[in-house]
Symmetry: C2
Subunit: 478 residues, 2 copies
């Protein structure tokens, strides 16, 4: 075994796993007891922070996300803490001024973040460059990300080109990010090998398990040269989540690769989350495995969004038409990967097309996408649709980096935050408000009440359900 | 794609999948509507019959298992029907006389069976030879099986030797059977390649998905030369079951291998079982994935058996001790694979050892195992324990084929069956009674009432639960 190549592992239990499996609802207090074991298990990094965790903290859990980060830093002193950063969007849903990007990265680093996985939904490198530069400046690990999708235009060469651009930005490593579990074994091998050969950088691979094939893809990615792979401890794995950490480690036995994690500690981490998980059953779906997305390209979450939009319009029977419209809309927009926010933008436009006639009405977001305000997509935009976007919005198409049009905004954001009840004066609070301006005011006000754990004891939930049923008579409920 | 090697697929939905996921409870009527699509999807074979389905049919479903077989034959006219046969045990729990083996195989073939996967829990080829000969005589496909396990004595060479012995028996193909999901990718490759190179026969691979690694193992088995792999349609897959059929097919894209199944039909089969499955939720566990078995060698079902035995003795706190005792007992017995019935025999003896002192009391079955009455294990038996077995039972160890000691018994079995109310005079009924003598009498009597579907509408189940809770007051339950 001495000649076996070491494969690093990024543990996802504290971020993406509970985001994917239980709507990001896990409270910090349900994670802390696992931290000493996670810290000692031998992971390459521990992912623990990102847009959805930040959002859920202030929206549902009355937890300060910065305090969560500082807690992880304290409880995981020997680990690389890792976060997912949406490039110029940071953790929010719009492009921010460069000065805000700088402030955010500086504060995240200061509070304990080590590895910044920076991505853009459209794979437009210009949306990554400021964040990458800020990470480099902070002295932390800048991981440039290639989002994986499939289309007639997406090629191994294209992914390698993007990886090279990320290397030019100073990337310490390249992540291949497969948020929709579309990455099959052979492309995993081909892309990782080409990126590795071309850039010489560390390559990390992130796959979801939705389609059931991606542990095989991780095997092939490792054979192709991947250095680090993302997994989640088994009790927090599979379904729309990720491949199990223990399975990854066991799978490698005898292959010439080894993931050197402490099995005893993995067992304890597994038991910890196995005990916690039932408390969040009301947020979990019964999703098992689904390969339809290979043909439709439409992620499960996007289908349910479109379905509920259609139902609101009394057109629930039109889902099939909409699903057939999606690939056309995606093609007209130059084949963006379908991931937040592009999945919502394309999906809603497909609904509009079916209900009101093709491109009779454009959503503001879709018009912006067609006019370049989200950045460049790989393919050409359909010029007829671009013309309609101009006509409907009165806006001109742009080709510059979208953030170039955003003036410095830090001072104004600070002033806005300062007006809020409960604002504590810190840059962290300014950033919290900047990311989630609709949610932060209420959070600042209620923060003193302390964290709210929304997990529920399964027996308690069951008892309530039964009580509700029994509570229809006039007597006491036994 | 024209040069891609074709990989056959055995669909498990009709047998092992519902056996593994829902305690073998699926009624025939919940399968029939999927049959035309299964028949046309392009499978190499359709597994649909075995010991547990036979047992469940007469014990829980009031279904004649032979009628089930004939129905599959009628509904799947273009498919190879496949069954799992426990060698000299047939579908029962003891060794049968050779004449019964002959009768059983003849009748199964006559009623429509095409492929007989013949195995023995101890991998003792002498327990397979009569059944293999009977299949050959019937003109059907004889698939000799190698049960996979790990121990200090189990080697690639040993598995190849067994495969060669099966070839000498006339095997049309060799199955590598991994009932406990212990088969990791590298051994899968090594063993399949060696068996393929040595025997030149078709190699089929059967893996469960329990440990999460075995789709990778199927990939490596295919790279090693496997011709056919076993999977279950996605809505009936994963957990203690099997890898998803659709994922297998998708995984192969671009690899130089192809499983040429009709995707549209797979989609319909998936939908069929997705709709049926919730009716059996009361039989399903929430099991997700578990890698502990790689170290403990103790399958999940065996742990729960031992746990309930301990609890009955008021010794529920001794489980850890028992789990540590199991490997020693297995070693003393010559490292049998832990699969029915050896898992129960070894597990119960481990419980006895912990509760009463090591080998102070032997179970009758464990004594028989030590004395050779189940056949030979790969390793040497511990002579001290063999001596105790002799002493406690007064029986002598044997080295002959166990069934050599069983005289012809068909006529007697026919006479026994003839005495039963509801016996229809057929050889099939004689065999049903021979396999399950404790269950068949009641079944014969109640057979005229027709099949009982134990699946339940989830809404109905829920309503009953609520009603039971509300029904504690005196007023009407609304
Ligand atoms: Co993810
Ligand atoms: Co099986």
């Amino acid at each position: 075994m001495s000649s076996a190549r070491q494969i690093g592992v990024t543990e996802l239990a504290l971020r993406d796993a509970h985001q994917s499996l239980m709507a990001t609802r896990m409270a910090l207090e349900d994670m802390v007891d696992a931290c000493p074991d996670i810290d000692a298990a031998g992971y390459w990094s521990v992912e623990c922070w990102g847009g959805a965790t930040f959002d859920a903290c202030i929206r549902f859990l009355n937890e300060d996300p910065w305090e969560r980060l500082r807690t992880f830093r304290r409880l995981l002193p020997n680990s690389r803490l890792q976060m997912l950063l949406r490039g110029q969007n940071l953790l929010g849903y719009r492009h921010y001024g460069d000065d805000v990007v700088d402030h955010f990265v500086e504060k995240a680093a200061e509070n304990g973040m080590d590895v910044f996985r920076v991505f853009d939904a459209l794979n437009d490198p210009r949306n990554l460059e400021r964040a990458m530069a800020a990470v480099k400046k902070s002295g932390k690990h800048a991981q440039g990300t290639v989002c994986y999708t499939t289309s007639p235009l997406h090629t191994v060469e294209g992914y390698v080109q993007l990886a090279n651009q990320l290397k030019d930005m100073g990337a310490d490593s390249i992540a291949l990010k497969d948020m929709a579990a579309l990455l099959k074994p052979q492309p995993a091998y081909d892309i990782v090998k080409a990126i590795k050969d071309e850039t010489g950088l560390q390559v990390n691979v992130h796959c979801h398990s939705t389609t059931g094939v991606t542990l095989v893809s991780l095997m092939k990615a490792i054979e192709g040269g991947a250095d680090v792979v993302d997994t989640a401890i088994s009790s927090m794995s599979l379904g729309p989540g990720h491949n199990p950490t223990e399975s990854l480690q066991e799978m490698l036995e005898g292959t010439g690769y080894v993931a050197d994690l402490d099995k005893m500690l993995l067992g304890r981490i597994k038991e910890h989350f196995a005990a916690v998980k039932p408390r969040y059953s009301q947020f979990m779906s019964s999703f098992n495995v689904e390969t339809d997305i290979f043909d439709s390209q439409i992620p499960g979450g996007m289908i349910s969004n479109m379905e509920s939009q259609l139902k609101q319009q009394g057109a629930g029977d039109k889902l099939k038409e909409v699903m057939e419209e999606v690939p056309r809309v995606r093609a007209d927009a130059g084949f963006p990967p379908l991931v937040t926010p592009s999945s919502q933008i394309v999906g809603t436009q497909a609904v509009f097309n079916v209900l009101m006639g093709r491109y009779q009405v454009l959503t503001a977001e879709f018009a912006d996408l067609m006019l370049g305000y989200y950045g460049l997509t790989l393919g050409e935009m359909n010029p007829d649709v671009v013309a309609k976007a101009k006509e409907q919005t009165g806006k001109e198409p742009i080709t510059v980096r979208p953030a170039d049009l955003i003036p410095p905004e830090w001072d104004e954001l600070r002033d806005d935050a300062a007006k809020l009840e409960g604002f504590d004066g810190s840059d962290e609070d300014v950033l919290t408000h900047a990311m989630f301006p609709k949610v932060a005011p209420k959070f600042f006000k209620e923060r003193p009440q302390g964290p709210k754990n929304v997990g529920r004891d399964p027996a308690e939930l069951e008892a309530e359900k039964l009580a509700a049923a029994g509570d229809t008579g006039s007597g006491p409920v036994r």
